[in-house]
Amino acid sequence: MNSTIKDRVFDVVSVRESFPILSKKVNGKTLVYLDSGATAQKPQTVIDAVDNYYRNQNANIHRGVHTLSQDVTVAYENARATIQNYLNAKYPHEIIFTSGTTESINLVASSLGKKFVQAGDEIIISAMEHHSNILPWQVVCEEKGAVLKVIPISEKGEILLEEYKKLLSSKTKMVAITHISNTLGTINPVKQIVELAHEKGIPVLIDGAQAVPHQKVDVQGLDADFYCFSGHKLFGPTGVGILYGKEKWLNELPPYKVGGGTIKTVTFEKTVYADLPLKFEAGTPHIAGGIGLAAAIDYVNSIGLENIKEYEKELLHYATEKLSAISGLKIIGNAKEKASVISFVIEGLHPLDIGTILDKLGIAVRTGHHCTQPLMEFYCIPGTVRASFAFYNTKEEIDLLIAGIEKAVKMLK
């Protein structure tokens, strides 16, 4: 056995056994899933939690006096507490269930826009944002006559902090920035970004969609005002996501959606809204999703984020080295601080062609602009091939990726 120490501390074989889909055949080949950045696979415990909810727990929450309803309300609120702990939020009511990162950002943009943004104000984002962290702010700017400012990045794919400092002004109403770039893998210095904004009294929203599956996030440590992520990228169900907001901000913002569950009293003349978090959770939520997400977090915690980080770092290092050795291959995104996401292009070849051949070999990667079109323009490329790794991936799979790319190059050139 030549497994490294890390392999032994971190038993990837047994980890893989907890994910049923990983033993599936695709196009006659064992699946090599390198697209966890798009959505992560689900461990059996998550599948069981969702299954168990529908089999044994199903009832509406916060509504009934009957036992099932009360029990599932407890389970749902326990899930909220699990997420609170995962992010180290101060209070459980700072955790709002949404349908995903996209909805979380829309909620903040819309509610903040309604109350705080006026003509001439500015909102700052970065050049590496996902469309989900561009469009909601663009809409607010259009509606209010405000201006969207964009922090430029270096060729390596790092935020230019000096330029960021110059953009901050008394007109700035919000800084919205991704924690980890889904295209470049760059880990942004969000703590510093928050500090600089707070010096001027500006709130910061962090898009954590790509961060929470890979590293410990401490919203109090970061002093983030808002933090968003999606359950499905964290090994949980699709259709559920989280908005963390500081209590004081969530109290300030008006509701985003309204309807059942968000109120204290309704008359046709006047409605008194419920306290947090229900103020932002109109309608029946994705109960199974919330419970499944908590199961996913329990699973991640059982492996340990520190172990995950270490292991993925090794995968990233290995993949970077192997990929760089392929002639004509260029890695897009070479930040010093990087998560296990690698985008690349190969001279003379279209990413779509490479992705098509890899798919035939059972290797799932993503190709295209990854919902970051402005970033593609910055690099003057039509798109990239992106391999994104989770802790269930192995070096053997990276070897298969490399062999697949070599085959694709041979066929396509």
Binding site: H350, P351, I357, K360, P382, L412
Partner: protein, 141 residues
């Protein structure tokens, strides 16, 4: 040759490879390489077919009652698919093109490229070819 006859010819050509994807794709890539170059003056944004991850430029013109297609793509597999579509549909009357069933796509094992997530735009390409033909047809009446 009628559209059906060309479809049959292509199906037989691909049958040589059996279930083996590699040969099929190599053939597709070769077809892409041999697609005649489109006149650069037609490689403009207004000729781009929307909804493709790769770029596909499609130009059509009417000659002696038949629609002639020329096209190009920046991705080689897509270009191979484009070449097949042109071989089947180009140089036919608008009615023939509009009514073409195109069952060969399934038979040669390229059906997966018809799925909406494929993003190579085969569906959009077919739609555009039929729309162009419809436009020529209505203009002539």
């Amino acid at each position: 040759m009628t559209i059906e006859e060309t479809e049959k010819e292509i199906t037989e050509e691909f049958e040589l490879f059996g279930d083996e994807w590699e040969g099929k794709y190599e053939h597709l890539i070769d077809l892409g390489r041999s697609l005649p170059m489109i006149d650069v003056t037609y490689k403009t944004d207004d000729k781009l077919i929307k909804g493709c991850q790769s770029k596909v430029w499609l130009h059509s013109e009417m000659k002696d009652g038949k629609v002639i297609f020329t096209a190009d793509s920046d991705a080689i597999i897509t270009k191979g698919i484009v070449a097949l579509m042109i071989r089947v549909l180009s140089n036919h009357t608008p009615d023939e093109i509009i009514n073409a069933q195109l069952g060969f796509i399934d038979k040669v094992g390229l059906k997966e490229h018809l799925s909406p997530t494929r993003a190579n735009g085969l569906v959009s390409m077919i739609k555009q070819m039929k729309m162009d033909s419809l436009a020529y047809k209505t203009k002539n009446i």
